[in-house]
Structures are given as C-alpha cells and as structure tokens.
Subunit: 399 residues, 2 copies
C-alpha cells in the first residue's frame, strides 16, 4: 500500500450452527455456505460453531482455491495463531445448555496484508438462555473481560485489530460496553456509512425459519448478538479504519429459500488507509464512563461470586451427609455381623441405598471441586477489575 | 534509570508445596518462607503451589510492609495482569496424580521499574511421574508450546521478559529446548557469573527431607526442574540483562533444619542496563536447530494424538456396549412382563447389573467426550507447529 491509497477488506462473519445430529439440515446449509463463499470471494471469513471435523475439511477442500489459508479462512498468509480458553463457561451439569462441553475460547490469527499487520480474533461467548434471570451473566462477563484483556495484551504489535463473532450480548449490555470501553474497539454496525439488512442490524430474527419464536417474543424485530468490531492500535496510529458498508442476510441465504444458519451472517466492507499525519487515538476521552462500566461489571461478577460460594458450600455439605450415611451403613453392617442388632436389613434396599450414597458422594465431591474452581476464577476476575479501576482512577491525577 | 546506570533486580522463585492436608509441615514451612522473605527483601517473589487462600492472605498480611503489591509479591506498581490456562493438563481419572484438578496455567504481571517495562510470567507445568514411560509428555509439550506462544504474543510491548517456575523438565528435555528456542529466553543458571548452591543447579535433591528418595534413584545429584529465564525483547533492544549471581537453597532453609519445600528455592540477581547503542538480538542464529526442536516436539505431540485417538475409540466402544447391555435388560424385563420368558431373574443381581451398566455408560461417555477434546487440542497444537515449521523454513529464502 503506497502513499494514501486505500486497502479494501471484505469480512464475512457467521455462527454456522453446524452441530452433528442436533442442527437442522446441517449438511445442506454447509454446502450452501460453501457455495456462496466461493462465489463472493471475501477477504476474510470468520465462522463459529463448525463442530464437525468433516464439515471443516469439506469447506477447506471446497474453498482451497479461493482461500488458500484456513484456520479459519483467509486469502493472505497467516503469520501466527494462538487460542485462549476462557476460565469459566457455564456448568457441566446443565446438559440441556451444553455450553460447558463446547469449551468456549477466542482464536487469534495474525496476518499481513499490503504491509499492514492485522490481528484477527474470532470468538463465541456463553449463550443467554433467560434474559430476566440470566444465571450465566457472571460467566459471560468473565469471558468478556478475559477477551478484552487477551486482545489488549496480544495486539500491541498489530496495526489493525478485527474481532468477529457471536458475543451473545445485546449492543447495550454491560459486557459489550465493557469489551468496547476496555479495548477501544468500534462497532462496524454503528460506524457503517451504508447499511443493508435486518432492522437495527439484528442477527437473530423471527423471520428465520430455524430460530425459536418463543425466545424472541419480547423482541419482535429480533436481537443483535453477532458483531464485527475493529480498531487501530497504539496511542499514535498511522492508520485509520472506516466501515464503508455493513450487510446482514435477512432470514434466508441470498437467492435461496433456506437460511445459512439460525443466525444471520454479518458482512462488512472496511477501508484501511495510511494517514499522512499520525493522529492520536481518542480512547481516553470516555474514561469516566469506563470507570462506571467496570464498576457495574464488577458488581455483577460479585453477585456471581456469592452464588458460587453458596453452591460450593451446599455441595460440600451434601458430600459430608452422603459420607455420614455410608459410615452409618457400615456401622449397621458391622453391628449385624457382630450379632448385636435385631433383624437384618432387607438386602436389596440396603445395597441400593449404599449405591445411592456412593453416587451422591462422588457427584457432590465433583461439584464441590468445580464450584471451588469457579469461586477462584470469579475472585480473580473481581481482583483484576479492582486493579483496573485503581489504574483508571489514578490516571487523571497523573495528567 | 539515567544513562548507563545499572538496575539490580533480585528474584526469588519457589514451588512451595503448600497443599492443605497433603503437604507435610505446611504451616510451619509457610511461616518460615514468610520470615525469610521479610528479612531478605527481594525485588520480585514468584511462588507456586500456594493452594490455600488462608496461606496466601497470611503471606500477604505478613509481607505487606515490604512487598505492597501482591499477585504474587512485588515491590513495584503492577500495571496489568493476565492468566492463561493451558488447554491440556493430564487426565481427571488419574486421581493419584491430581494435576488435572489443579488447573495449570501461566500468570502474567506487567510492572514498570525505573521506566523499564517488565513482563513477568509465573507457571507450573504438568509433573513427570515416570521418566521411562512418560504418558504426560505430549500434554507437557502442548503446555510448553502454549507457554512459548503466550509469551511471544503478549511481550511485544515489554522491554524485559522474566519467567519463573517449576517447569517439570530437565534442562535438555525437548520441552525446554522448544520453549527457549521459540521465545529466545536465556537460562539464568547457564548465564550466571557466580553460582552458589546444589551441584548442577538441581532443585529436587535427595538431601531434602521431603523428596521421595526412590524417585531420585537414577539421579544421585538430583534434578533441575525449577528455572528463572529472561530475555530482552524486540529485534533491536536498547537493554541488556545479565545474571550476576544465581543461588539455590541446599536441602534446608538458610539457618534452619527444615527446608522451605520439597523443591529448592532459586534466587537470581539480575543486572539490567540501558545500552548506548541498540544491539540487535541474536535470536535467528539458531534457526536450523530450532527447526529440529520443533520437529521433535511435533513428533511427540503426534504420538500423544494417536494415543488419545485410541482412547477416544475404546471409551466410545465401551459406552456403546453398556448401552446395548441396558437395552438387552430392558427387552428381558419387557419379555418377563409379557409372560414370554421362563424364570424371572433374581432381583438383586439384575438391578445391580443395571446400575453397573448405567454407571459404565455415564463414565465411558464422559471419558469419550474428554478424549475427543484432547484429540482436538493435540491436533490444534500439531497444526500450529506445522505452520511454525513452514514459517521457519521459508525464512532463509526470504533473506
């Protein structure tokens, strides 16, 4: 990129909802996604929920000609990659929600296009199953915080940062405000010169035949939870990024009667330009607001911490009770063997009771251990946020 | 730090072996560690295996005057912190080894001393329980690789990188060579001008009353698995770091008859100096050797991958068998209810068998899921190493 010429970058982001045996018409949709990506030739494709190895290698084979560098799919040489696993991600026993088993994380890919270093992040945060009583809010906030910290710590040598993914948060939620405030990332939808797609940029809409209509009842237009965010890095950057156009699909794939996924795709056209004069980034203007956001997030993490402490206590108590029951049974058996007791116990119910006690003991111990780790992680995040607040509050007096 | 003046930094590193109920004379040793740290006033204290919250807060209270910034303990303002959890860390069912439950990770603390930005990393990798047949080698290699990647990606804005911890690897092991080669970190023991302590810098020695003598039989002098490593960052750095002195304890705490821990403490005195002329770091000289090391590590990860794939297969088969047994039992019950069968089954053994089948089904499904994740993580690391090799092998042709 010479002088003032502009680099155009077309980015495609989609939560593919491609879970074997669970996602409807998966193979048909994955073929469709491959077809469209092959036709359109985006510069950068960020996909989430491609769970099957087979789907991934099929896509890789299909798109190999147009997008030689996959991990996910890109037209430019990948310099390096890194994966960061969030420390909390729901509960293993919430089988119906299943997020815990998916092991949510954020992937980083570093690429160089026309001499500009791009740090591209892809992620998927914990789902929100009930907005009124969102038990996963503290975990999602820990993830948003860790995502923000991971981006801040790994992007110091990058010129441009891009983040795409299903963040499972509405645009005004505390987690999004925390992520944007703490990293300085800008929302492509809010900044776009031209927009085409679902009203308010929604990506989970009642018009999509795969969405669960009852979940969207409070939101007749749908909700916006899939994002493309970007920023230039460094206090003084010699680049600027503008979002020329943002598009979403509107309930079906272009020219077809079925959608790509239960989520709409988000497609952004970004213009990256080298500036004649380096301009200082204006991240620090919003700092008083940032203090409020971090404080709000910290309060929610604290609520989650107290809930986790209660669960740690009650699972510990349950384990102790099961152990006592087992000891009692052992004493009864020994008593009978020594000829002290009266009638012997009915064998079947006695052994079933022992089996039950062992099962409860194992389960309760496992859960106690799990909640102990949860408490440590929530405490750690609260402590980190406290430290961040101290740094934020000290800054004005330095200046 | 003005002009050519030298900053002296005294670093203390110790695996404290402070696990409640399990570690011998824990409270006495933690008090002793606190006492010595209070007397000596190091600049930076990196502790591992302080598992109890109580021990941590006791230390924090005791050392608060001398080391106001803890997380772990430091005499300088902490700018920021980050924790990275390794994606693999042993097996949950290896209860006797217990590493899985400890959730191994690497902590990063960013501090500024005399205008120099230090990225300080503390970690503890998976233990080696049997050197001849080390089943955890692939997991430890994944950890060493992730540690190296994490350091590379997060240290780009740092002037000096310090890493301390129990790496559970001997100095010539492939994991250490990988970590050092891929990051450019230097070994304080190898670089030290003056050394005082156990022969060969060993940190797990037969002379320590808490070590298990049988494990050290093949190594009469002991082994060196605790390290302090350092480097200056950037292709052109304006700083240089020298290790003036390295000390280890020798089986007992200074002036006492019991040791701090089952590990010896490592204490380094580093001199950091701003250079008049910026010197380019000489990381790229060892690149042909680095290709060999990454190839060797990748081969070992591949061995682990195939073992994980076998375990994924056998646990999946076990789950299917247990399910078949349950179905068979259900058919038998239905047959008896319909009056088709001959004699009814003895109730006790029949229900115990069903219970057993359910238990095996649950366990095998859980393990199958665990090994599926293990396979994905090992594949991911192998793929990253493959990419790193491509980049390394392409470099000479660029120059």
């Amino acid at each position: 990129m010479e002088g003032d010429s502009t680099l155009q970058l077309r980015v495609f982001d989609l939560n593919c909802w491609a879970i074997r045996y669970l996602s409807k018409r998966r193979q048909e949709r994955m073929r469709l996604i491959g077809d469209v990506l092959l036709q359109e030739c985006f510069d950068l494709i960020l996909l989430q929920e491609v769970w099957s190895e087979q789907d991934y290698s099929d896509l890789k084979a299909k798109l190999g000609g147009c997008y030689p560098f996959s991990h996910y799919f890109r037209r430019f040489t990948i310099l390096d990659t890194l994966l960061y696993q969030y420390s909390l991600n729901g509960y293993p026993y919430m089988l119906q929600h299943g997020d815990w088993f998916c092991g949510k994380s954020v992937g980083l890919v570093i690429i160089k296009i026309s001499g500009i270093i791009f740090n591209v992040y892809v992620t998927h945060l914990h789902a929100e199953y009930c907005r009124e009583k969102d038990a996963y809010l503290p975990h999602r906030l820990v993830q948003a915080w860790e995502l923000a910290q991971f981006i801040r710590h790994t992007s110091k040598a990058a010129d441009v940062v891009l983040l795409g993914g299903d963040l499972n948060m509405h645009p005004d939620d505390v987690g999004i405000r925390l992520l944007r405030g703490w990293t300085g990332l800008q929302d492509a939808f809010a900044e776009a010169k031209h927009f085409e797609g679902c009203k308010d940029g929604c990506t989970l809409i009642p018009n999509n035949c795969f969405t669960i209509k009852t979940e969207l009842l409070p939101f007749p237009l749908g909700i916006r939870i899939d994002y493309i965010l970007y920023k230039v890095t460094g206090a003084i950057s010699s680049f600027m990024v503008k979002c020329e156009e943002l598009k979403t699909t509107t309930g079906s794939a272009p020219g077809r009667d079925i959608p790509f996924s239960d989520h709409e795709a988000v497609m952004a056209t970004l213009h990256i330009r080298r500036q004649r004069e380096a301009a200082s980034a204006t991240l620090s203007t919003a700092e008083p607001a940032l203090v409020d956001v971090v404080t709000e997030a910290r309060t929610e993490v604290g609520v989650g911490l107290r809930a986790a402490q209660r669960q740690r206590y009650s699972t510990g108590r349950l384990a102790v009770l099961a152990l006592l029951l087992l000891l009692l049974q052992a004493v009864a058996v020994l008593g009978t063997l020594a000829g002290l007791g009266g009638q012997p116990f009915p064998k079947l119910s006695f052994s079933l009771l022992a089996f039950l006690a062992v099962a409860i003991l194992l389960l309760a111990t496992g859960l106690h251990l799990f909640h102990t780790i949860e408490v440590k992680m929530l405490q750690g995040t609260e402590e980190q946020m406290r430290m961040a607040l101290r740094v934020l509050q000290e800054q004005p007096s330095d200046g």
